[in-house]
Structures are given as C-alpha cells and as structure tokens.
C-alpha cells in the first residue's frame, strides 16, 4: 500500500509554513560548506544554494525510513508524525543522515564556490538568512504555501540589495528564474546557474590533465525547463574530459526518478534503475556526471557500486583548481 499522500505532503508543508523549509536542519549544516572560503556576507551578486545539496543527506535518511513503512501497516501512522511535527521538529528525529553523505553534499557546494572564485566571479552569500526556495511545495501543487515562501525569498533578496543570484542546482534555478516571475509582480532578480556563469568565463583554464571518459546525465529541469544543455558539455570538454552520451540525452534526457521519491520510493527506484541501464549500455564501471543533488542521490542508489556517479563540479574542480 502506498504512503498516505495527504499526510506526507502535509508534514512537509507544515514545516514550510512554520519553519520556512520543508525539512528543517541545523543552520550550521546549511552554511558550513562556506567555511574557509572567506565569502563576504551579502552583496549585489550572491550564490544562492536554496539548501538543496545540504538537505539531501536528510532526505536520503528519511526516504529510507519511508521505504520501510511504504508497504506495511505502519504507513498509516504517518499522520501521527504530522500531528507531533506541529509541536516539535519530528524530521530531526526520524532522519539522522549518514556522516559520509553530509560530507559529500557539503563538499559539492564548496567545490562550486571554489570554481566560481577561480573564474574570477565576485559574489557574496546570505549565510543563515538564506531560505529554501519552495520547490517541493510548487511541484506538489500546494500553491498558497508556495506563494508565501516565494514572497519571503523575494523580500529577503530586496532587503539585502541583491540583484543577481548564482544558483547551484537546477530546481532552485528553475523556480527562481522561471516560476517566481509568474507570481511576483515586478520580479527583477537576475538568475543564472553557476554552469552558465563558468561557461562564459575565460579565466577558467585547466591546471591539471584529466584524461578520462565521462558519461553525462542531463537533469530534466536543466535540459527541458531551462535549456541548459551546452554549458556542462563545454566545461567538461574544456577541462579535458571525453564526453560519452547515453541513449536518452540533452532535451530528450531520461528522468532519474527522484521527483516522486518522497511519496513513491519504490517506483522512483525503478525509474532510476532504467536510467542506470542506459549508462551501463555504454560504459563499464565508468564515470557519470550529474548536475542535480536529487539526480545524484537517486542514481547512486539505483546503481549500487557499479558506476562512479559524481556531481559535475567534482570532476571540474579536479581540472580547474589547485
């Protein structure tokens, strides 16, 4: 029996309304990636993480628990979690992330910022003030909660004098660039993905030779919603990698299955496995580059140990940074 949709969605939306994020995590877990990078606080141009990479280790842990109850009578008791969650942060108890996952996802945002610095881009960061962009509420069609969150984010940017944001994941890019303007009058924030910013920089030249074949996994959101297709390829090529293309690629890329994982974990896993098969058809134990935290988590889970699945920034940093 599938999980009760209304309670699973309700729990996340209660969090968004009350705690300004679908999944409350300690703030140091959201901002700790920036340690040692000396990024100034605020500024006209800021890196905007929306905490997507930082949230993933918690989501992975939560989904593991949901999978355990998905087909059991316990699934019926998700409503109790929702009830208690109104009083205290239940998510903090039910999803204790693996240390290795926390480290891995934190390192990705660190690498992205390092690449931007190497490219000579000047940017700040809002640290603790930064808010989740509301992606999940939008995808699940909880429009009132989403509108409130979108306005919170816009007000935050205006109050801090931000005019350009550099995003690090496809979902936050899409929401802030293509969805906010449809619901916020006079929305005037320029939104660029870090991949677009890096692709136009002449400063980014390889320091190390990296002879390796990399299979590219386009994110549906980057490729089909935001037409970000050439930039990751240009960057990998410039870095010195040889690109391999799976059967479904570019604008016809195959979804990783991740978007439905919080409600239908098993179906999500099947879609991920179908995609993994497309990689295995062209590479034997090779490297696969993802560009989205959700894609990375879903595909890693679906592949087992067979492939080296890493965020594209991990490959780029090896070539472009010291």
């Amino acid at each position: 029996m599938p999980l009760p949709i209304d309670d699973v969605i309700g729990l996340m939306i209660d969090n968004l309304k009350k705690r300004k994020t679908v999944f409350p995590i300690p703030y140091r877990r959201a901002t700790g990636w920036a340690d040692g990078l000396n990024i100034p606080e605020g500024g006209k141009t800021v890196i905007y993480t929306g905490s997507m990479y930082q949230l993933l280790p918690y989501m992975i842990a939560a989904v593991k628990n949901m999978e355990l109850v998905e087909d059991s009578f316990l699934g019926k008791f998700v409503f109790m979690g929702r009830f208690f969650n109104k009083m205290f942060n239940v998510s903090a108890f039910v999803s204790i992330p693996k240390k290795a996952d926390v480290k891995r996802y934190k390192q990705i945002v660190y690498n992205i910022a390092k690449l931007l610095k190497k490219a000579g881009v000047e940017f700040g960061y809002l640290y603790r003030k930064e808010l989740y962009a509301g992606t999940l509420a939008y995808d699940l069609g909880v429009d009132d909660a989403f509108r409130i969150q979108a306005k919170r984010v816009y007000n935050l940017l205006k109050e801090n004098g931000v005019s350009t944001v550099i995003t690090v994941d496809p979902h936050t890019t899409n929401i802030m660039r293509s969805v906010y303007p449809t619901i916020i009058d006079g929305y005037d924030i320029e939104v660029k993905s870090y991949l677009e910013v890096l692709a136009t920089s002449d400063n980014l030249q390889p320091l190390h030779s990296v002879e390796k074949e990399i299979t590219i996994h386009d994110s549906c959101v980057y490729a089909r919603h935001e037409s970000i297709i050439d930039e990751p390829r240009q960057l990998l090529k410039r870095a010195g990698y040889t690109i391999k293309e799976p059967k479904d690629n570019k604008a016809l890329t195959h979804c990783c299955g991740g978007p439905i994982e919080s409600i239908f974990p098993k179906m999500s896993h099947t879609i991920g496995k179908n995609r993994i098969q497309q990689f295995k058809d062209i590479t034997n134990g090779g490297a696969v580059a993802t560009m989205c935290p959700i894609c990375m988590a879903s595909l890693k889970k679906a592949s087992g140990d067979g492939l080296e699945i890493e965020d594209i920034s991990s490959f780029l940093v090896k070539a472009f940074c010291d």
Binding site: P2, G141, D143, D144, C220, R224, A251, L252, I260, I271
Partner: protein, 107 residues
C-alpha cells in the same frame, strides 16, 4: 461488477466550471494522439492523456479515484518535448495537484 457493466460516473458541472475559471488548466489543443503516454517513463496508461480527458469531460470522480497517479508524474516534461500540439502537460498535472491540495487535502 458483472461483465459489460461499467462503473457509474457522473459529470460534475461544478468541477468543469472550476477548471475553466482557474485559467491554469489548458488541454484544449490536445489531439488525443497518445504520444505523451507512449514516451512517458512512468508507463502508466492514464498518464497524462486520459487524466486530461477526464478533466475536460468533468469526470471529477474518475480523477479523484486516480489521485495516486496524479502524484506519480515526475514533472519531467518528456511528454511536452514530444507533444506536437504544444500542450503544457506538466503545468496541467500541477493544476490537478493544486486542485486536490485545496479541495481534498485542505492544505
């Protein structure tokens, strides 16, 4: 249910009105070709073409019976990329979710 008898379904004019006035659901250009269903990685018969038929016909009961399927869409837009009638399929699925969120889940 005996052979040859189909489940009773009633058109809900109120639902048709709500969909029409929302301004957020638009599948009138749909030619019912089924390409979207054929390319959808979920491989579910109802997704998305038949869901849209139910919506346009005002078959609210049929839609709500299939709430799970409405949430099984990945919003990946593989269907849209292949739809020659330019139907904003993912937006339409999102509309159905927002309808359920408000009217059924009361979120």
């Amino acid at each position: 249910m005996s052979k040859g008898v189909t489940a009773m379904t009633k058109v809900n004019p109120d639902f048709i009105k709500k969909v029409a006035t929302s301004g957020e659901f638009n599948a009138t250009a749909c030619m019912n070709c089924g390409i979207c269903t054929a390319v959808c990685p979920m491989d579910i018969e109802l997704l998305p073409r038949k869901l849209f038929r139910y919506t346009l016909l005002g078959l609210e009961d049929k839609l709500l019976e299939n709430t799970n399927i409405i949430y099984q869409c990945l919003l990946c837009k593989m269907c849209e990329e292949n739809c020659t009638a330019d139907v904003h399929i993912a937006e339409n699925v999102r509309f159905l979710r927002s309808y359920i969120s408000k009217e059924v889940f009361k979120l």
